[in-house]
Amino acid sequence: MQRIIEEALMVAKKFGVSYADVRVIDRTEEEISTKNGSVDGIKSSSSKGFGIRVIADGAWGFSSSFVLTDEEISRVAEEAVDIAKASAKTKIEDVTLSKIEIYQDRVEEQVKIDPFSVPITKKISILLDADKLMNLQGIILRRGGMYFSKEWKTFASSEGAYLELERVISNAGISAIATDGKDVQTRSYPSSFGGDYQRKGFEFIEEVKLLENAWRIANEAIQLLSAKPCPSGKMDIILESSQLALQIHESCGHPTELDRVLGEEASFAGTSFLTPDKLGKFKYGSDIVNIVADATAPFAIGGFAYDDEGIKAKKIYLVKNGEFVGYLNSRETSKKLRLEPMGAMRAESWNRAPIIRMTSINLEPGDKAFEELVSGIDNGVLMATNKSWSIDQKRLNFQFGTEIGWEIRNGKLQDMVKNPTYSGITYEFWRNCDGIGNKDYYHIWGLPNCGKGEPMQVMQVSHGASYGRFRNVQVGVLR
């Protein structure tokens, strides 16, 4: 590994770059899916390669390859420099980077059971046991899945950084779809879109408790078919933590990405309403809203030891006591705004250049018991488990749908309702947050599929949340 890295940095330096870094990644993945009592697919894959990022003539270039030979390393390093020099033909100013502390380190993931040491048969059997429990009259589709990955990444820079980093991820989730011939309803566990993900070994699969929840969600899917539609109008809502996690993701995580803010993602993902003039001067939410970017959060898949610029994992506030106070940034963007680099540059794999990504964006828990949150509502809805999401390109107007809801009347949970949706404008919504559940309900959810960038990069991020109560929200679109 060291040879590849030395060769790449040497060739880059030969072509006169002012900065270069190299990442070599070797990743193994395993994905198991079951459907209606059978194995639907097992995918075992491995991918390795390297990427070289350079600044030449004051502009960025990046190239990458799966071929780890001396000849290809030279070609790719030279290509990265050629690409940078082509970029420089349109530059307005030279790229400059914030100064950072340089580390040499090796970090192994602390897992109890290596997920690749567990036989596939055991994994299949857990999923098929859960499948059996979901096999109720009216359920037409039962799905289960597990995903495991393990990678070693070596990062080195022309400034002397040298990091060897291990990363292990485990995932499990199930879902049941019910139909009565007219309507179709879905329930998922522990959350939608594949379940939950953590930086843990196979021990995580037991913690997820699929078997304890399989019958319940299948039964709920059937009940939803005859449930009444979610009411519509302005009312109070409580979001369960996995839905609140996605709300944080879309309405706080993305708009605090400084590359978006500075217009660097305008071509695809969009920009942000949290412009630099608002930093430290904008009431993002109510006084009880505290949101952190915490790459040090234990087991969180948005966490890591060092980011892809070699910055050691940090925790910073994005929103403190409701004030907007921080950005997710990179060495380049932090320099532009004279901010402290906080380490949010991440690349999907060896074949992508790092961009600013969420780490673990967490809403700090409040002090309320669930019963207290409910008892404070005369007319409202409790909503759980995301079904749909959409938000404008400045991250202001959002609309979410959840799998399930329950009416709240006179401080008590009432009937189940189907197709709950709510919408709003980001800062108005968060300013109306008047209750956050305590740490007993707090959980950091792994979201493996955050898409951003061109070329597209799918990133593993995470969000900590408890319950959240929001006043005077527009509920209901579907009738």
């Binding site: 075992s44 990458s64 790719v76 596939i120 779809i177």
Partner: protein
């Protein structure tokens, strides 16, 4: 790029190393370059050389699969061994009959040398034309210029042996003004088909027309959707409705409706991987030739796409729409085309007394799959149409509408079409739709 011979050798070796009853090897990859620009300069400029070998091994009805991007003999042997182990540990898949069987199929290739010869400097030159014009107009240019050089080879122990190479060039411009934005994209296998001037003209034109938008109330509007907006609106049909898996799983609104007229008379939508109107692909990831599949003919639900597994299960033949296997999204239509009408875009606009012209939709997501209810935002150009003319720019709005309802309310279609490409293609005209529902507004 790898040579065709090298790809064939890797595929043959992969199959020969296997002890399975049936073995399939698929190698896919190539080189890919993207020059990205923002704030009137190139800010991201990247290249990639990557291939992936996917293997499937079957013992009776037990299938194992594994993939790797190291093509040394040792790595291939280990990957075959892994696929064999997985197959042996599997339970039987009762639906599995066979991998794809050989068929008469002429070779087709879509590799354009001119596209493959584009260098980083040439990409910068294309982009610079957009940047210069944007600066001249006091605007802010953003976008990408993408060059993809792809190869795919499929070989299986039953005699399938296919190879194809393909180039794609795509130039996108998103122009930002202080209170507006405009969008344009052109995509082709041949870089010479891309007109940088028309991309500049459209994206800057929309941005300039969009200055100082007014707010209008949400509600039902007659709309003219550009091909960009319409392709985005119907794109989720690919996985929600137009494939055998979605029908089987009950999420497709075609389930139980085949042969019935469920959309308007003027709605004919099909998939055709070999049409000159699409970014072509002669065969799928199992090596099966692409067949033309008609989803809706004059509003009548006709058929959906199949891969080998769903075809055998339903007593049909694969239509050549497998994704790389195993995949929970397969089969998948990769080349959706909608039949256009006789009118020009301007004629359609001239017929609208009061409505909205939507240049682009963004962040669409299904809210109710069975009813195909989609929500999303307008972006990069929304205009009021009054008495047959575009009159005023409008602040962006959220729509929430069923595709089924909208395709029953479609009054007119244009003869002009655009192909939108993002790994798969959708080629559609401008459409005029009545009673399209906007549910809320945003601040810009």
């Amino acid at each position: 790029m790898m040579t065709r011979d090298k790809i064939q050798t890797i595929l043959k070796k992969s199959v020969s190393f296997s002890e399975g009853d049936q073995t399939e090897a698929m190698l896919y990859g190539g080189k890919s370059y993207l020059t990205g620009f923002a704030n009137n300069h190139i800010h991201r400029n990247v290249g990639e050389n990557n291939y992936n070998l996917s293997l499937r091994v079957a013992f009776g009805k037990k299938i194992g699969s594994a993939s790797v991007n190291d093509f040394s003999d040792e790595a291939i042997k280990n990957t075959v061994k892994r696929a064999v182990e997985i197959a042996k540990l599997q339970e039987e898949n009762p639906s599995f009959v066979s991998f794809a069987k050989p068929e008469e199929a002429p070779e087709k290739d879509f590799f354009v040398e001119k596209t493959a010869e584009v260098t980083p400097d040439m990409r910068a030159e294309y982009v610079k034309k957009i940047l210069d014009k944007s600066k001249e107009k006091g605007l802010n240019a953003n976008g990408t210029f993408v060059i993809d050089l792809m190869q795919i080879g499929v070989l299986n122990s039953l005699g399938i042996s296919r190879f194809c190479s393909l180039t794609v060039a795509s130039l996108k411009s998103v122009i930002l003004g202080d209170t507006s934005s405009g969008y344009s994209i052109e995509t082709s296998t041949n870089v010479d088909d891309i007109s940088v001037n028309s991309v500049i003209e459209e994206s800057i034109g929309i941005a300039e027309m969009g200055k100082n938008p007014i707010a209008v109330e949400p509600g039902k509007y007659e709309v003219i959707l550009s091909p960009y907006a319409f392709a985005e609106f119907i794109s989720s049909l690919s996985y929600l409705a137009l494939n055998a898996r979605a029908v089987e799983e009950g999420t497709s609104f075609l389930a139980g409706n085949f042969g019935k007229k469920i959309l308007g008379d003027n709605i004919t939508i099909y998939d055709d991987g070999l049409s000159p109107e699409t970014i072509p692909m002669p065969f799928d990831f199992e090596g099966v030739s692409k067949k033309k599949v008609v989803f809706f003919e004059n509003g009548v639900a006709k058929d959906v796409v199949y891969d080998t597994l769903t075809a055998y299960k339903n007593g049909k033949e694969s239509t050549g729409h497998s994704l790389p296997q195993p995949s929970s999204f397969s089969p998948y239509p990769m080349n959706i085309i909608m039949k256009g009408g006789d009118l020009s875009k301007d004629e359609i606009i001239s017929h609208v007394e009061h409505g909205l012209y939507v240049h682009r939709f963004w962040y669409t997501n299904p809210m109710d799959p069975r009813r195909a209810v989609i929500t999303g935002m307008t972006r990069d150009g929304l205009f009021l149409v009054e008495n047959g003319k575009i009159t005023k720019p409008v602040k962006n709005m959220r729509f929430t509408e069923s595709i089924i309802t909208a395709l029953n309310n479609c009054i007119e279609l244009s003869k002009e079409k655009r192909v939108m490409y993002d790994s798969s293609s959708i080629t559609v005209p401008y459409v005029r739709i009545k009673d399209f529902t906007f549910t809320s507004i945003t601040e810009f």
